[in-house]
Structure formats: structure tokens, C-alpha cells
Subunit: 228 residues, 2 copies
DNA sequence: ACAAAAGTGTTTTACATACACCCATGG
DNA sequence: CCATGGGTGTATGTAAAACACTTTTGT
């Protein structure tokens, strides 16, 4: 048959957004050589499950969250990336609204926590590389897919979207032009809800109109906003 | 340790362009259940080699060609994609100028041939799916990366580039606007060579200026031509 | 009354699009 | 001289970019 002893794993770069910060979900290893080190949630694929299923399962087991958006990112297969034995890892990016899903004390990991992208701890394996690739993908993606909405609450003030873009792209955006552009797509619904003002004028809350987005997409509409 | 019996393979969708046709390189299986069926070049990864190395090796062994451009495409891991046992395959796309590289009678495959994308034979495994994903990627890519030049000869008339785009995108393009746009990038060098005219006026031959392209890229230049 | 964030239009500029005739060669 | 593909410029439309003041609330 085939003479090969490579193991297959999946890892997920889970993005969240809260308090004007872009966050990544990390777990602390419970066992083994890398015990106590922080790492991406993930693990070995079972013989009978698909790759996507494996990611969702590991996320559930290690952190208790369920991704609303999941996309294959890249496969990392350097022979030396794991010192124990050879592991090929199929990495994913996932999006979650941290406020909608509580982290659970998990059985498989010692701890699970959100970290600001700008101050990540030292990571096990090549997980720092995986995160860099994931971040790049997120930055590119946000320009031509309305993935931003997966990171926000159901009802949100427009400024949340603005801040999200500014945080991810690490860049100032012209508020008027941005708003004009996004609203012109007709994929946002203005609701009659109002944000409870902290300070300053209270804001109307918006809601992503998925139905309309899907309809428009079928008609050949492409979400695109140039901010690179 | 890890209880898993999954094998890891690589497959390549190798694109070529000749006679105004977009081609894909396929091999005919020599042994096993799928003997005589056409399939993508590829095979199992060796324990000690990286994924990229595995692709290049398989390409060499099965077809004799060397890709000038190689990029990871997607990883296919459906548990049922191979009927013998579970195989996770990391698919790549590769670009080649068919005229620059002769197909070799190979040891590992019964036959290797270029097929017009528009008339592919029935393929083994899920290779038809892999090709579809690869084609989509190529179509997207050609709009924002000058990969077209990897498919053309070193010296080529401008019309070759036009035709390449029209063939890949399966779409008419305005000759004047296209030429204007591409030339405005300053990544083509006009040479003093002239095409030996078949019929009609002979054409100046151009040459891709890689040095200039890399320099411009560093300065923040993005190749982009909207033809989707 | 002031601090803080929300909300809103117009002008300028650049790029995409549409479009048709002459040129150089071979047969 | 005719058929074939090569080479070229302008006018128009559309979308991006630049830009600052007024409104509403809490303190």
C-alpha cells in the first residue's frame, strides 16, 4: 500500500471583535510537550469525518463556540512544523461575535481566551505564521465580501461597522464616503431601535439584510469596497 | 499516539496555453482500480518532503515538466473521495508554457497529454471538481496578478495576451482599452523583434519585465484589470 | 454651555467605457 | 488589389475622493 506516516490535523483562526479590538481565540495546551503554551484551537481529524466537521468539533470541544462563518485558509505541511512527528494541518478562518457565544470551560483545553491581535502571546508550533496568513486573508476578504456582519451584533450602530473596518485594516476611513457606499448596496436595514447613548448623540441601529444580499448576489451584484 | 489512518496526497491542475486554447495536463493511470482512467498528475507525499516539493516531484516523474508558477489551491478531504481508503489531497494550480517544456514519456504514468479545457475526458476520483475550483481561481487571479505572462512565450505579440485573456475569461475584450491599460502598467518591454507574419501586418514582440514589476510591487503598485 | 458622537451633500478628479479608421504585409 | 491582423485617440459617463458643519444627547 502506501508507505507514509503523516498525521492530518485542522486548526482554526477564530476572529472576534469587541471593544474596538480585533481578537483571536486561543487555547492553552493541557498535555504534552507544549503543555501550558498557547495555541490555535484544533486537533487531529477522525477517519470518518470531513475536514469541516473536524474543525467544528474541535472548536466545540475546546472552546464551546460555534463559528457562523468558516472558510478553509491554507494547508501547512512543512515536515518540521511539529517536533513530535509529521503533521499536515489544514487551517481555517472562522468568524464569531464574541458577545453571542460564551466561552465554556472546556474539557480538552486548560483554558480558552480571546486575545487582542495586537498583543498575542508566544504561540506553539507554527501557529504565529498561520495567524499571519489568516489576518492577511481577513484583510483582503473584508473588501469584497460582507463578512464584517458576522463579527457584529445583530443590531448595531453604523459606527461599529466603521470601527471594525478601521481596526481590521488598521487605517482611517472617510466616514461619509464609507457610509454612502455601504448604504448604496441596499444590504442594510434601518431599524427603529436606537442605541442607548453612552455619550454623544444616540445612533439608529442597523441590521444586515441577508435575504436581500442573497437576492442581489444572484442578480450578479458584487459587494466591493476598495480600501486596500 | 494518534489513532488515524489517512493518507496525504497532492494533485496539480497544470494550465497551459497554445493554439488559442486553454489546456490542462492530464495523465492516464497505469495501475490499480482506476487503470486507464485520466486523472490529474499527483501522488502521495513522502514523509520527508514538503508539500511543494511533492508536487514538483510528481510533476517531474509523471510528465517531465517543471512549473514556472505554483500555488496551493485547496485541500480536498471528503472521506469518500477515494474508494480504496481515505486520502486527503492538497491541490495546486501550476502554470506552464507548453512550447517551452516537452512532455516526456514518463515512467509513472501510462500517458500524459494536454487537453483543451473545453473537452476534457471523464476523470478519476473528484478530479473534475478540483479542476472546476482551479479554473475559477485562474479566472479570478488573472484579474489581479500578471500570471498571464507565465503562460506565454518569452517574446510574444500583444494579440497573444489579448487572446489569452479572452480564452480564459471566455469573453470579448475591447482591444484598444485592454492594450492601453496593460501598457500603462509599465511592466511590458517593447523589443525590436517582429513576429514572422502568417498573414496580416507583422507585430512587434513584447517581453514581460519582471524586474520592473517587482520594483513597482514594492512601491505599492497593484496589477489590476477589471474584466469579471 | 460644552463635550461627544451622529448625521449629512457637493465639487473635483480620475478612470472606465464606447467607438472606427488607417497601416503593413503576404498572396 | 485584396484579405488579414496590427496599431492608434478622443469624447462621454460614472464612480471615487476630498472636504466641514449641524444635530442630538448626557453631564
Amino acid at each position: 500500500m502506501v508507505d507514509q506516516s503523516i498525521k492530518v490535523a485542522v486548526d482554526a483562526v477564530v476572529f472576534g471583535y469587541s471593544n474596538n479590538e480585533l481578537k483571536i481565540l486561543l487555547i492553552q495546551q493541557k498535555y504534552g510537550e507544549t503543555k501550558d503554551q498557547w495555541a490555535l484551537p484544533g486537533g487531529f481529524v477522525k477517519d470518518s469525518e470531513s475536514l469541516d466537521e473536524a474543525v467544528q468539533r474541535e472548536l466545540r470541544e475546546e472552546t464551546g463556540v460555534k463559528a457562523t462563518y468558516l472558510e478553509q485558509l491554507y494547508t501547512f505541511g512543512n515536515p518540521k512544523r511539529d517536533s513530535r512527528f509529521r503533521v499536515v494541518s489544514i487551517a481555517y478562518i472562522a468568524l464569531i461575535n464574541p458577545k453571542n457565544s460564551q466561552l465554556e470551560a472546556s474539557t480538552d483545553a486548560k483554558d480558552a481566551k480571546w486575545f487582542d491581535v495586537k498583543s498575542l502571546p508566544k504561540l506553539a508550533y507554527d501557529h504565529q505564521t498561520i495567524i499571519s496568513v489568516g489576518l492577511e486573508r481577513l484583510k483582503a476578504k473584508i473588501n469584497y465580501q460582507p463578512i464584517g456582519f458576522d463579527l457584529l451584533a445583530t443590531y448595531f450602530p453604523f459606527s461599529d461597522l466603521e470601527n471594525l473596518y478601521q481596526t481590521i485594516l488598521d487605517k482611517k476611513i472617510d466616514r461619509r464616503n464609507f457610509r454612502k457606499k455601504i448604504l448604496s448596496f441596499n444590504i442594510l436595514e434601518e431599524t427603529d431601535k436606537i442605541s442607548q447613548a453612552g455619550s454623544g448623540r444616540p445612533a439608529k441601529l442597523f441590521k444586515f439584510n441577508l435575504t436581500n444580499y442573497k437576492r442581489l448576489e444572484k442578480q450578479g451584484f458584487h459587494f466591493e469596497i476598495k480600501l486596500v
